[in-house]
């Protein structure tokens, strides 16, 4: 085990800002992509079924 | 000219142009695409005298002498040594026993007068374990020849 305590883990040897800034950015990017994937799918399905109703 | 002949002429023309492009690239690479010369190459007179080029190697331990902004140190590939003078601010990562690339000219006295000194610590990821300097020097030479071939 590398870390003596959780605070040591978050501190990352004094480089917490850079490490967690990186991982945080990845998290934001992934979440944003997942949300956009989901909303795009919903919109596509909605317009698909709308089309069918108007036909 | 038939359509076929026309097309053939165009293809041949295109090939000719591409060949000329390749020839020009080769000319360029023959010119001065040497990233750096090693001390061994320099002592064997492979490096041009009086022209600007780059010298690469390790800063010899204990060789750095500072007098104000004037710095002198020796660069080695463990086989040969080239003395270097430089006046200016050295980068933070410049350390004895670490890699360095200096750009400048070689004088008749065999002293390399650097106009620019660049350093970077290596990018190995490992728990403390030092690759030997010899290994590094060979790698540096390989790298230089590789880049020449590119």
């Amino acid at each position: 085990m590398n870390w003596e305590s959780w605070s040591a883990f978050w501190d990352m040897g004094g480089r917490g800002f850079f490490v967690w800034g990186s991982y945080g950015a990845l998290l934001i990017a992934v979440v944003a992509e997942l949300l956009s994937l989901r909303s795009a799918r919903k919109a596509a399905i909605r317009s698909l079924h709308d089309d069918h109703e108007t036909l | 000219m038939t359509t076929k002949q026309k097309r053939l002429a165009l293809i041949l023309g295109g090939m000719g142009v591409l060949a000329a492009a390749v020839a020009l690239v080769l000319t360029a690479f023959n010119q001065n695409l040497v990233f750096f010369f090693t001390p061994t190459q320099i002592t064997s007179k492979e490096a041009p005298i009086g022209r600007v080029f780059r010298l690469g190697g390790m800063v010899e331990t204990g060789s750095v002498k500072r007098e104000g902004v004037n710095v002198s140190f020796r660069v080695t590939d463990t086989a040969q040594i080239v003395p270097v003078t430089y006046s200016g601010i050295l980068p933070d990562l410049f350390k004895e026993g670490k890699g360095v690339v200096a750009q400048g000219t070689l004088g008749d006295d065999g002293v390399f007068r650097a106009k620019e000194v660049l350093a970077k610590h290596d990018e190995n990821y490992m728990p403390p374990e030092a690759a030997t300097a010899v290994e590094r020097a060979t790698k540096a030479r390989e790298m230089a020849s590789k880049t020449l071939k590119q």
Binding site: - | K6, V17, A21, L24, V25, A28, F29, Q31, L33, V52
Partner: protein
């Protein structure tokens, strides 16, 4: 020899247009002038500083100025219908496009090349550097137009042409930019610029061989 007749006609027409409409070459030059004269206001008038940025500013200015003339490569013809004459021709479209770009390069390239050493004076650049810069620009403008022609051809029938042209073209011009400005920088440092010039020449030839084909394919796609 109707290929010769056709390419000749395309070339001649471009030259006629160039002679007929002064704004076609005057506008890029004026734009070039404005870009070059704005920078000293922003960075100060210290001549050492100006020398260092001058080469880059002038080169980027020339790049942007030649991008300004991209829309007239196909867009105008598409609007008045004369693009169809070129598309319907039985001669290879790539060769016709090449003729067109050659004419535009000669016209615009000459104008920008002449302007370059004059603007170099703004930046206190020595004569040999100014001359090398002019040579660089002369080599770069055709390359930029050839690359730009692909984007111009793609965007003939698309929305948001101007910005999109820049987005598509500018990243692809980076090698030309590096070595074009690099050649002049070499001269400024008292070194030989042969390698940079050779590479610039190589890019030009490469673009000469490939870009007309890509532009022809692009034009067919966007007008189909």
């Amino acid at each position: 020899m109707s290929l010769r007749a056709a390419t000749g006609a395309v070339f001649r027409r471009e030259m006629q247009l160039f002679a007929r409409r002064k704004s076609d070459w005057a506008n890029p030059i004026v734009f070039f002038l404005i870009v070059c004269s704005l920078f000293p206001f922003a960075v100060g008038s210290e001549s050492e500083k100006l020398k260092l940025i001058g080469i880059g500013v002038i080169f980027v200015g020339a790049l942007l100025a030649s991008m300004l003339s991209l829309p007239r490569l196909f867009e105008e013809d598409a609007r008045d219908g004369s693009l169809e004459l070129m598309l319907a021709s039985s001669e290879p479209l790539a060769v016709l496009i090449l003729a067109r770009i050659t004419a535009l390069s000669l016209g615009l390239g000459a104008a920008l090349t002449v302007a370059t050493p004059v603007f170099a004076l703004f930046y206190a650049l020595p004569f040999d550097v100014a001359g090398m810069l002019a040579l660089s620009v002369a080599l770069a403008v055709p390359t930029l137009l050839l690359i730009g022609a692909i984007a111009a051809a793609l965007l003939v029938s698309a929305r948001g042409g101007a910005i999109l042209t820049a987005v598509l073209v500018l990243p692809l011009t980076i090698p030309t930019l590096i070595f074009g400005a690099g050649a002049a920088l070499r001269v400024l440092n008292g070194q030989s610029p042969v390698a940079e010039l050779a590479l610039q020449g190589a890019f030009l030839l490469l673009a000469l061989a490939l870009c007309p084909l890509a532009a022809a394919a692009a034009l067919k796609i966007s007008t189909d």
